[in-house]
Each structure stands twice: as C-alpha cells, then as structure tokens.
C-alpha cells in the first residue's frame, strides 16, 4: 500500500488497526484510572498481564548458546551474557520445536506459523493460523486503546522462496486471521502516533462530531415524532463520543497515577519521521515504545521483529561484512555470534527497561512474559529441530523464573512450542484444548 519510506510530502500513515481498536476498547475503565481507587500496594493480581515477543531471524550460533543452573547460580553462555543482570527473572528454554514447520522446506516454510503451529500453504494464496499474541490480544485487547502493537525493524518481503512458500511467511509473526498477517509497523514515529496520539480515537471523535451535527440539523427539519428517534441516535452518539474522549485521556491519567505514587511515568518524545539510519537507534526506539506502551497500559500485547527470516540487514557496527542471511549460513562464525548477541542485548534492554518500571511492589516485567525467539537453531543447516527460547518476567506471579529448562530429551510430544503457548494462554484465561500441534500443556513450566 505504501512505500516503505514515506514519500516526500506524503502524510504519515495510520494503522487501520489502531482506528478499529479505538472503538471497541472504549467500554472498560482504563486500568490506571481504576488503580487510583486502590490501596497503596495493590495485590499483584490487580495488575494486567502483558505478553511480548522479540524475534531474531535465521537462528543463533549454537556454540555460544547455552544455560545451566538456576537463580543466581545460573551460568549463561556468551550470546546470553547480556541477560546476566536479569538471571533471576528469566527462563532459558531449550529443546522446543514446531512440528508443522518441519519437513516441508526451509526458511519461510520454517517461519510461517511459528506463533501458531498451523499448517501453512504454498503458492499464491497465503494461509497460516492465528498467532498466540493475537489470541491474547483478542482476549485482553478490549481493555486497552490498542489490542496489540506489531512492530518490525526489517521491511517485509512478499516474493517466493524456492520452497514455493511466500516470503510473507518470513516477514510476519503475528496473524490476526489465517488469511492475513497483521501489517508490521516499521516507522517508530507512526507507531508512536498510534499509541500516544490516539489517532484512531481522534478520528472517531471527528466522525462522531460530524454525524452529531448532521443529526441536529435533521432534527430541525423532521416531524416531532421522528425527532424522538433522532434523539435516541443523538444520545447514543454523545455517549460513545464521551467514552472515546475518556480513552483519549488515559495517557494523562497514567501520568497522574504515576505522580500519585511518587514515581514518574516514563515519557518519550515523538521519534522523527522516516526510518532511523542506524539499526541500533531503530531497535532502541521500538523497545522504548513497547516499554512505555506496557507501562501506560496503551496495550498489553506486542511483537517486535528485529530481523526477519531471510533478512538482508547489515551490521557494519558489528564488523560483519555479509548481510544477515548470508552470515547465518556461517552461523558458527564469530561474526554471526555477534549478530545474535546484539539481538539478545536488545531483548535484555527491553526487559531491563520493563524491570525498571515500578508496579506495586514489583515491576512491569514481573507482570509480563517477554519471549525471545528465533525460527532456527543452526542456520547453516537450516536446523529447526529445536529453537532458542528465552522467557523473561513472572507474568503476575504465575510463572516461576530463574530456571533453565531443557526439553530436548522429553520426547516429541512433550517438547512442543504449542504446548508452551497453551500453558501461557492458560495464564491469560484462554483455556484451549488444542493449539497448533499440541493438546497438552508444557510440563514443568
């Protein structure tokens, strides 16, 4: 629909989802507003649970990816070093896989349903499954101005891979319907607008204003009996408008609530238009957006693709000459280890940021599950028989942390990503009998 870079003089886009969200979300009391009525230290259950995914395409350097032990004694390998300060708040999970993404080719065929475990279709018509983040967004998204934010630092592709799967599968993690991925937002400025400018609700107010004016004008032209009907309409319009306006104020409310607790809600200036030239700046901005969106309850669900599958991104600042995908074919190189570690460090940055945000006796991270994930284990072999997974955050006290969990030898039916998703969705009140290829929760989570 639009050029990946904003055309000169062209106005910024707005996310359609943002606008759509603006309406349905308006019914619930903004969470922070309700908080003010609570005691100084509300119980953990009073805080919303959040879910986030941070993605690295094409796998890691397996020589430097391992973890052992628990808690403070946990030993982290080189690539995981950035998580050292967060050891008590993470789980490093090894040995999980997605059955639907094995045995049908490489890359997009190994990525298209990473978060749903659905079977994906080859050829012109793309078809996957609703992803776990969107499942959660569908459940908890009604309570926030945006049901989810879906971000990427890497432009999506839509060509064909030699496996005959569309590269749309390589470019998207989040699927709202099986037929359409959620469009990724790559511009920090537009993501900011959607989150904090409340563009969706602003436009709703503007539509409602207009029709209100029209109904009032009509009222002067129609019979008194018809007027009773038009009044019913007008009252409804005014009522909805009030609610939308109320939602628009939630950012202020968030600030007020923070002030009342003697902390300051993190603020963030609107990022500049266009794509940041330096990837490091880009990722940092995206992480900041997610952190603040979580803290201020603008949304509870986020996904961030730092590099997509088959990424052609460059890392001159890491001293790597090849693009991302080429480098991954030599994945046990030092260079590729640096690429993977860079991704982990960004993940650690976001987790630490969430951990610095006080919420009751704990932090926002304590009420979050932030997942780090790649689609491959060993890039040079396109091996996805196990996936690198890290979870950060205690999810409101429902998820024990500080552990290393290894399912590699648990048997094919007991080491499913979809089992992990079932377990996580349970904690959001979504209790399914089956998800993707799993009918059982992941044991010992």
């Amino acid at each position: 629909m639009t050029l990946p870079l904003p055309a000169k003089n062209s106005a910024p886009r707005i996310s359609r989802r943002a606008v759509l969200r603006g309406v349905g979300c308006t019914m619930a009391l903004p969470w922070l507003e309700s908080l003010q009525a609570l005691a100084d230290t509300p119980p953990p259950s009073a805080f919303p649970k959040r879910f986030g995914v941070v993605f690295l395409g094409c796998g890691i350097n397996e020589d430097y990816w391992s973890a052992a032990g628990a808690g403070a004694a946990m030993k982290l390998s080189k690539t995981l070093q950035p998580l050292e300060p967060l050891k008590q708040k993470i789980n490093v999970i090894d040995g999980l896989y997605v059955r639907a993404l094995t045995g049908q080719g490489i890359h997009p065929a190994q990525t298209g349903s990473l978060l749903s475990g659905a079977h994906i279709s080859k050829g012109a018509i793309i078809h996957s499954g609703i992803s776990i983040d969107q499942m959660i967004a569908n459940r908890v998204g009604e309570d926030t101005p945006q049901s989810s934010i879906v971000l990427a630092c890497d432009q999506p592709m839509t060509g064909y891979h030699e496996s005959n799967f569309s590269l749309a599968y390589s470019s998207h993690l989040s699927w709202q319907t099986p037929d359409s991925p959620v469009p990724v937002e790559v511009y920090p400025s537009l993501a900011w607008d959607n989150l904090f400018d409340n563009r969706g609700s602003l436009l709703n107010v503007s539509i409602l204003d207009r029709v209100k004016g029209r109904a009032e004008a009509l009222n002067r032209k129609i019979s008194s009996t018809d007027r009773s009907k038009m009044d019913e309409y007008l009252t409804s319009v005014r009522e909805v408008e009030k609610r939308v306006e109320g939602m628009r104020k939630s950012k202020n409310n968030a600030d007020d609530a923070a002030k009342a607790r003697n902390t300051v809600a993190t603020t963030m200036d609107r990022p500049a238009n266009g794509l940041p030239e330096d990837l490091r700046d880009h990722v940092r901005l995206m992480c900041d957006l997610i952190a603040i969106a979580f803290q201020t309850n603008q949304t509870r669900v986020a996904s961030l693709i730092i590099s997509r599958d088959l990424s052609a991104m460059y890392y001159p600042f890491l001293g790597v000459k090849d693009g991302h995908h080429s480098a991954s074919h030599d994945n046990n190189s030092e260079g590729y280890e640096r690429i993977a570690r860079f991704h982990v460090s960004q993940y650690a940055y976001l987790a630490s940021k969430l951990d610095s945000m006080k919420e009751g006796d704990g932090t926002v991270l304590d009420n979050t599950c932030l997942m780090f994930l790649s689609n491959l284990w060993i890039g040079r072999e396109h091996d996805n028989s196990r996936l690198p997974v890290v979870l950060a955050g205690g999810l409101g006290g429902t998820l024990e942390t500080g552990r290393t969990l290894n399912y590699l030898n648990a048997g094919a039916n007991h080491r499913k990503m979809c089992g992990l998703y079932l377990s996580l969705m349970d904690r959001f009140g979504i209790e399914l009998e089956q998800f993707g290829d799993a009918t059982e929760r992941l044991e010992g989570l």
Partner: protein, 1034 residues
C-alpha cells in the same frame, strides 16, 4: 422440557396500542350507550371472574376497559373476544353458558365498533417513525452499495421483532450507545474493504489493508480474466467446421462472426484460423493440419459424435508443433552478476513474451541431416543460475524423433516459412499465468500466479501479447490493460518490487552476494530517480569492466532501470490525476448511500471534511477517502430511513406534489419520490433502491400509478427479491434464525450437519422466491406438490441424487412421493419445532395454527406438567401423554385447537426425516381429529382439513402479515379496507402473490405519510402499557 416454554406467546402486545388509534375520538353516543348497558354487564357476569385480578387468565384483564375509547385503543384483543364468543369457546365449561341473545348483542356491538372505526380512519397511513435499518437491511444495503456481501451485522445483537413478528419496524428498532459503537466498527470494517482504482472507488471481498491482500485481489482479477478467454484451439476448429457446413447445419446465412458468437469464441481470431485452414499449396505442418481438417466427419455422418475428439486431435497436433518450435532465450551474461539479476532476467522474459508467435527454424531437421544425439539432462541449476541450458536439453529431448519436424533439405526455406506462418496464427501460449524460477520449465514452483520468477524478492511479469493481438477485441484489450494498470495502482507493485530488490538484492552489483542488500540510502528515498539512476550506472560500470559481457546486457540494463523509473514517475502522476476522480466517486457513493441526491451544502461539506483530514489530521489521500467513506456510513442519512419532504428536490428540479390524499380525517401527504423509492425497495428487496429506481424518482414520475406498477413488477423479477423471501417469510414463519439453530443433538442425528442445516433454511426461501418470480398462487405454499432441494436436502428426503454442490437447487415436481410438497412438511419447520430428542406435536401444531393460519392462542397458565426430553426413554408415546393433558378441560380449551395438527406430523422425526417408528421403536400413529371433528391421517389430512375449513384464515393471515411487513408497522383498524381489497381480489387474480404486493403498493398507506405535527405529539415511551413483554421473545 416444560410445556409452557414452547408457548412463549406474546400476550397481545402492548406496543400495539400505540399504533392502533392514537386519537380515538368519540364514537357515536349509541355505541357508548350500548357499551354501558349491554357489554359491561355481560363482561361482569361471565368474564371477569377469571379475567381480572393479580393473575388474570391468559394475562387478559377485562376489568381494565372502562370506556369505549379504551376498547378502541386495544381493539385486537376485543376482536379476539369476538372470535371466542362466536366460537362459543368462552366462557369455558364449568361456567354456565350465557343466553344466546346476550352473547349475540356483545358480538354485534364489537362489530359495530369496528365498522365505525374503520370508516372513520380509512386510508390513515398510520404512524411510521423514522427508523434505522434493521440488521438484515443493513447487510443487504451494504451488499448493494459496495458490491460485496460482507454482512457486517453478523455479530450485532438480534433486532427485536414488533408484535406482527417483523424486525423492520420503528416500534422495535431502537438505537443505543452499544449498538452505535458496533455501527462505528462496522463502518470502519466496510471502509477497510475500499480500494482506490485509477477511475474511482471499488470494494474488495476482503479488507485491503495488508499488502498481501492487495496483491491477491489484483492478481485474482487478472487470472480470472485470462481463464474466461476462449483460447482452446479445438473450439476454433469446431467453430470453423460449423461454418464450413453451415448450409448442411441449417444455417446457410451464418457468417464466421455469427458462428463465433454462437460458439462463444473470439470473432477476431476465428477468421484467422479459418484462413490458415484454407491456405493453398500448403506444406509441412499446415498441410498436415489441413489434411486432418478435411478428414473431419460431415454432418449426418455416423462419426459425428467424435467431432470433438477430432478437433482435440488437431489442437494437440498444433500444440505439439508449437511446443517443439517455440523460441528460447537466456539472460545475457555479465560476469559478476547472477543470471537471476533482475535487469538480465527481465530481458529474457521480455524476449519470450515478444516471440510467442515465432517459430525457431533451428528446431527443424533437414532430411539429409544426421539425427542429433539426445542430450543428457543437467540437474536443476541453483537459484541464481541460468535455467536456459536445462530447458534447452529438456526441449531437445522432447523434440527428438518428432517426424513432423523433419523437412526436405531442398525445400527447407519454404518449410521454414510454413512453420513461421503456423506460429503466427498459433502462438506457443496466449498468456503465462504462472512462472517459477526455471521458466519456461513449469514442472517446479507451481502456483506462483503472474510471478516474474525472481528468487525471494517479489516481482510480477505480464506476458499476454498473443492474447491481446489475436483474441481480444478493443474492449477486451482495454479491460485487460486496465486490470494490469490497476494492479500497479492498487498494489503499488513497481515501487514495492523496486524497494524489495534494492534492499535485498541490489548488493549483487557491489559484490556483496546474490541476495544480500544494500544499506539504507542516507536522507533519500529508495524510489528517487537519483537512486535508480545511481544503480543503473553501477550496473553499466560492472558490465563494461569485463569484455566477456554479452553486448545485449547493456541494453537490458538501461531498459530495466529506465522502465522502473518511468513507471514510478508515471504512477506518481496517475495517483495525482486520480485524486479528483476519487472525490467525485466519494460524492457518488454518498448519494447512493443516502438514497437521494446530495444537496450542494452536503457536497461542499464532504469536500471540506476531506481537506481537513488531509491537512489538519495529516492523513494520506487514501486514508482520507477511507475515513470519509466510514463517515458516510455513520450518518443518520444512511443509517436511518427518514422521509424528508424536500429530499432531492433542489437538484431534481421538480416541485413536491402536495396533493393531499383526503381519504380520512387524519391529515397525510404523499411521500417524497425518494422516500417512496426506498419504501418500495426495502419492501421488495429489503435493500436500497437501485439506479433505475432512483432515476424514476429523479424524473419525478415514480408516484404515477403506471410507473410505480411497472417498477414493482420489474423489481419482483429481480434476484434481490430473495431479501423479501428471507426477511418476510423468515420472520412470518419464524425460521429466520434457523441458520444458527443448535438444538439438534448431532450425535443422535449425525446426518444433521451445517450443510444440511443451511439447506433446510434455504428450502422455504427458494420456494417463495420461485413463487414470487413466477407469479404463482399463494395457495401453493399449502397445496404445492413441489419443492426445491439441493444435494444435501435431496439425500435427507430420500429423493434421487442431485448432482452439484450445495448451491445447486433443483425443483422436484413429484415431491408427494417423498411426503413433501409445499411449506408444511419442510424439514426446517419440523426440526425447529422439535425440542431435540423427540418431536413436539404441540409445538408443530401450534406453529401451524399460529404462524400459518394466524390463530391467536393465549399463553398457557404458569404451571404445566413436564414431558420427557427423550422420546426413546419415555414409556408412553407422546400422543398418549398429550391425550392425558387434554383430558384436563383447562388445558383442552387451547390444546384441542392445535395438538391434532402436530400429531398428524408424527410421520416426521425430530430432524424432519420421514419415519414410521419413533425413537423408542414404536410405530407412529399420524391419525388426528381436527377442530370441528373432521379426521384423517398424516400431512394429507392436515392439508385437506385446511382446504375445507381454514383456507380463508390462511389467506387473511398472509395478507395481514405481508401488509404489516410492507408498512413497517403493526396493523391498525384503518388498514382493514386494504385487507379487504387484497383478499376479495385474490380469487379473480389466481391467488397470485404479486396481486397482494401490487394492492399494497397502490394503497394510500404505502404512498403517503401522516402529517403528524398537526396532531398532539405522541410520546411512545409513555404509552407503553404495563405488560411490555412483546419484545422479550428472543
């Protein structure tokens, strides 16, 4: 289950009172006097013992009617009183019967009161408030407005029905904040389907917010276009044969053009095929083709049934020759660039596309030449390597030993010319629909529609020159060209392809790998001319650096980058040029949505809003248009049907005709032409007026009886009449929500699946659609010996198999053989009126008398005995339990009036299946004694009884229901004269459904509206009477 729950009878509704007689003025003093002297004492003596107090019998308190005026206001109940007294059903048994004379006096009084009121108010159009579209109307209207059946109200709360049972009246259609929020979401949802084309606004079947959906939409339209074209050579040979034997085939006048039209082949191409078949002195493949042509059997020959086979043989011959002699190309070689490099690969694709009507002379073999060796087939090349050698080897192998390619050495050039001529008429392909990496080897990479065959990055390529040149006429060429233009316009193809290429592949020119891209350009947009020119330069420099570079490569590189740049610049202009057209389209959209012309002020307002969105809200053009579309759909002018006196007058130039129809003492005026158009279309289609109807409104002659009648008849023949069949019949007969029915135990009835459920729902709709389309008798609903079935329903009914899919419906004329025919034995009613694991004679019988025959049955008392839930587990047959129930005279008063109908249907099981045994294995007994004492067994007996005794009830009920549906309100006494007209005219008009429709459309009720402001304003809320349970049924 409780017997009571089936009888969630609306007590005579409440809201009715408001519609009936807003100002029941004084009746004659004589009637008043009789009320005091005769009626009241009778009621006091015989009725109020039961019908009064805290829990009046049948929830009907007769003590409340203190004055004649109050009786008038609630007349329908008193009509019931009259019925019961006439039938001597009241007072019931233990109470002594009143003297005949006293009874008759009360009956006469009620009749006189009715006559008086009818006279006084005849022609009063009644109060029809502005009202929002019902959910169903909203869906149909969106469908007709956008051309896409999106059904946005699927998740809306169900609309409540009015007392007449319809969900289309202002009495019941209310607005609330929750609903308004849903409308806002629906409006945005619909607007999300919007797609801007170079000429205007269109709507796609799915949201067009994601790039993959925009691609899918555009590609599908082009592929569908391709597949629609007649490109099978065999069809042309067959058509040529018909021309050759036109005289023998009885069409001596036929021309190639007329035969092309009859055979549905291209009139442009057929003469070319004909021509080559007539070629003189042909040699080689043309001579051979002509020989096959001459061998085609003549008409009358006993071989004629094989004509098609012969033509296919000719086609296969041509296809073989063309496949073996098609031109082949490889990407020009540039050392340092992969063969899949876009500038080089594109050159190859263009060559293929340009030479589909050429024959490669090198593929021919002179008869003096040695037979060449069959080459070994190399393995598939890598993704970035040239596939041409592989394809050349495959082709050579396929060609090897083809004798048709061997030509006399001495006449080689003449033969080459013949091959060339054949190729010019028969291209090796008319178009390329799919393309993979090893193009033209299509054995891999299936399903990449219109793809350019690039590796990983997106790209599409158009290759259909032969189709354009040979098959398509001017109009077809124009269509196909605009589909491709729109592909780029809608999906932003060239720009996205360029950017994906730039980011992911252009690194190849810098030696950073085949796939890896380039760092983001600083401060510059990737699609800038300077960036494109910069890369062009880099490629040329690379090509020049090595002497081994194929000279063609330079042209290929220049062409490619220049083409990208020109296309992008062209698109920028096209987008700019299209903006004013989109605004015009927006205004047209709004006028259609409002179902009337926009005023000047409204047009200005839309434009001003658009500019605000662009400038103040910083929206893009497309977002601003989309936002405006959502705004249109939220406007009360769209959501509501409001009769504005001056609607459209300012623009149409005609003056409102205020000739008031002085038919009653209640002032009324004609509807505006546009309101009338809407009233007509929402009656007949449950949807917005079409362009033709709006044109008549604009012309100002829609109110003319002949024009109105002509429009009505036209519209009744239209497919959109399914709206009437679904909404009117669905609500009248109470199956409207059957599509979501979940009461059937699917484990016990495994044949009941969603397809069958949908088929059951469709059966009465199809039946009634057919009845309307073909001017059939309303009595066919009862007596028709036919019905309509699809494969699922045919199987369910045990009828002969119907071939096709679930949308294949066929008429079954001898439905009686399968115990079907007409509405009554349709599975949808039998299933809906069964509570799951047993039938319910009570519900089924009640449905017949109430829904079909229009009889009013009072609600049951609060405490009723329970019947077993599972037929298989009950000791007695249902019939015996019901007989016990009827032994109680209190129950019998009502049950005697409907149980028998249901008992006669015991030959149908819980999902409407014909049966001889119930679920417990007892043989079913369908014998029934109908009210009045006549007896019989099975459905035939029910129908015979109705024909004999109740046909008038049915006709009266259909008439009333249709009128209430048409007028969007409950009926009132002033409507009696139309009802009389409808019913009395039916026999002379063969009981045709359209007679009922035409009578309604011509009535003052339909054509006028009350001028209500001259009256005391009505406050509907305050008039809601006490027991307002009428809307709680669902």
């Amino acid at each position: 289950m409780m017997i009571s729950s089936f009888m969630q009878l609306r007590t005579l509704p409440a809201v009715l009172a408001l519609a009936v007689m807003p100002a029941a003025g004084a009746v004659t003093p004589a009637l008043d006097r009789q009320f005091e002297q005769t009626v009241k004492p009778f009621v006091a003596k015989y009725c109020i013992a039961c019908h009064s107090g805290q829990t009046p019998a049948a929830q009907f308190d007769l003590k409340a009617y203190a004055t004649t005026d109050l009786v008038t206001r609630d007349f329908p109940r008193w009509a019931l009183v009259m019925q019961r007294l006439t039938a001597k059903e009241m007072p019931p048994k233990p109470i002594p019967a009143p003297p005949e004379e006293a009874r008759q006096q009360v009956i006469d009084w009620i009749q006189a009161l009715r006559a008086e009121e009818v006279k006084k108010s005849a022609g009063d159009p009644g109060l029809v408030l502005a009202r929002r579209l019902s959910n169903a109307e909203y869906n149909y209207t969106i469908r007709d407005l956008t051309g896409q059946d999106m059904r946005p109200t699927r998740e809306f709360p169900i609309d409540p029905a009015n007392p007449a049972g319809f969900d289309n009246s202002s009495e019941s259609l209310t607005m609330s904040p929750a609903l308004l929020s849903k409308y806002l979401q629906a409006a945005r949802g619909v607007a999300g389907h919007m797609v801007l084309t170079p000429d205007g606004i269109d709507f796609a079947p799915y949201p067009m917010l994601v790039e993959t959906d925009r691609d899918k939409y555009s590609i599908q339209r082009i592929v569908d276009f391709y597949l629609r074209q007649p490109t099978d050579f065999a069809d042309y040979f067959e058509a040529a044969w018909r021309y050759r034997y036109r005289a023998e085939l009885g069409k001596p006048e036929a021309t190639l053009a007329s035969i092309a039209a009859d055979s549905k082949v291209s009139a442009k191409y057929l003469p070319m095929v004909w021509q080559i078949l007539q070629e003189k002195d042909a040699v080689g493949p043309i001579a051979k083709l002509q020989a096959m042509w001459r061998d085609l059997p003549a008409p009358g020959s006993d071989q004629l049934q094989t004509l098609r086979g012969w033509c296919v043989g000719m086609r296969n011959f041509v296809v073989k020759i063309r496949t073996h002699t098609a031109m082949q190309f490889a990407a020009p070689v540039v050392i340092g660039l992969p063969a899949g490099s876009q500038p080089l690969l594109n050159w190859k694709l263009y060559q293929f596309a340009a030479h589909r009507r050429d024959s490669d002379p090198n593929d021919l073999l002179s008869d003096t030449d040695p037979v060449p060796d069959v080459p070994p087939i190399p393995k598939y090349p890598d993704s970035h390597d040239e596939a041409a050698p592989h394809w050349a080897a495959l082709s050579a192998k396929a060609r090897a030993g083809d004798p048709d390619l061997v030509v006399p050495a001495a006449k080689r050039s003449r033969y080459e010319a013949a091959f060339a001529q054949l190729a010019s008429v028969f291209p090796d392909a008319f178009y390329v629909k799919e393309r993979g990496r090893y193009f033209p080897d299509d054995s891999q990479d299936k399903g990449r529609l219109l793809s350019a065959g690039y590796h990983n990055t997106m790209g599409y390529f158009r290759d259909d020159t032969p189709l354009m040149e040979l098959i398509l006429d001017d109009e077809g060429q124009k269509q196909l060209n605009s589909l491709w233009d729109e592909f780029d316009f809608i999906a932003n193809l060239t720009a996205r392809t360029w950017v994906q290429y730039f980011v992911n592949q252009s690194g190849e020119v810098r030696g950073t790998g085949n796939e890896s891209g380039t760092a983001r350009p600083l401060d510059q947009e990737i699609t800038d001319e300077a960036v494109i020119k910069g890369l062009r330069h880099a490629y040329l420099v690379l090509a020049e650096a090595d002497q081994r570079t194929d000279p063609m490569a330079f042209q290929a590189i220049r062409d490619h980058f220049d083409r990208v740049n020109a296309t992008l610049r062209g698109l920028e202009k096209e987008h700019a040029d299209a903006e004013p057209k989109h605004l015009e389209a927006l205004l047209r959209f709004a006028a259609r949505a409002y179902r009337r012309p926009l005023t000047k002020a409204e047009r200005d307002d839309f434009l001003a809003y658009y500019h605000t969105l662009r400038e103040k809200n910083q929206l893009s053009h497309e977002d601003a248009i989309r936002e405006s579309v959502a705004g249109v759909l939220m406007s009360p002018d769209f959501l509501y049907r409001i009769d504005l006196v001056d609607a459209g007058m300012a623009t149409s130039g005609s003056t409102p005709r205020v000739a008031s129809l002085k038919t009653s003492g209640i002032p009324s005026r004609p509807l505006s032409a546009y309101s009338l158009a809407s009233r007509l279309s929402y009656f007949l289609w449950a949807s917005m007026p079409d362009d033709e109807l709006l044109r008549r409104a604009a012309a100002g002659d829609l109110q003319r009886p002949d024009v109105l009648l002509a429009q009505t008849r036209r519209m009744l023949k239209d497919a959109r009449v399914s709206g009437l069949a679904t909404e009117f019949a669905g609500n009248w007969l109470d199956f409207r929500h059957f599509e979501t029915n979940n009461t059937v135990d699917r484990e016990r009835f495994p044949t009941f699946n969603n397809d069958l459920r949908e088929a059951m729902f469709q059966e009465p709709v199809r039946f009634i659609e057919d009845l309307i389309h073909n001017d059939r008798s309303v009595l066919d609903m009862l007596y028709g010996k036919y019905t309509f079935v699809n494969p699922a329903l045919a199987e369910h009914y045990g009828m002969p198999e119907v071939a096709g899919n679930q949308n294949t419906w066929v008429r079954v004329d001898d439905a009686g053989k399968y115990q079907r025919g007409g509405l009554l034995p349709m599975a949808v009613f039998l299933t809906q009126n069964s509570p799951g694991l047993r039938t319910s004679p009570v519900k089924r019988g009640y449905w017949v008398v109430r829904r079909v025959l229009g009889e009013v049955i009072p609600p049951p008392p609060p405490v009723v005995p329970e019947l077993p839930a599972d037929e298989a587990k009950s000791e007695l047959p249902l019939r015996d339990m019901l007989a016990q129930h009827r032994a109680n005279p209190v129950c019998a008063a009502c049950h005697a009036r409907f149980d028998s109908f249901g008992l006669a249907f015991e030959g149908y099981g819980p999902v409407g299946e014909a049966r001889t045994e119930d679920l417990a294995g007892r043989s079913v007994d369908t014998h029934a004694v109908f009210p009045g004492g006549s007896q019989g067994a099975g459905m035939d007996a029910v129908i015979a009884y109705i024909r004999e005794h109740r046909q008038a009830d049915f006709v009266d009920n259909v008439s009333r229901k249709l009128l209430a549906y048409a007028l969007n309100r409950s009926l009132q006494l002033s409507d009696e004269s139309i009802i009389d007209r409808m019913e009395s005219g039916l026999p002379a008009n063969d009981y045709r459904f359209d007679w009922l429709v035409e009578t309604i459309v011509a009535s003052p009720q339909f054509l006028t509206r009350r001028v209500s402001d001259s009256r005391e304003p009505l406050q509907p809320e305050t008039r809601q009477p006490q027991s307002g349970d009428s809307q709680s049924r669902r």
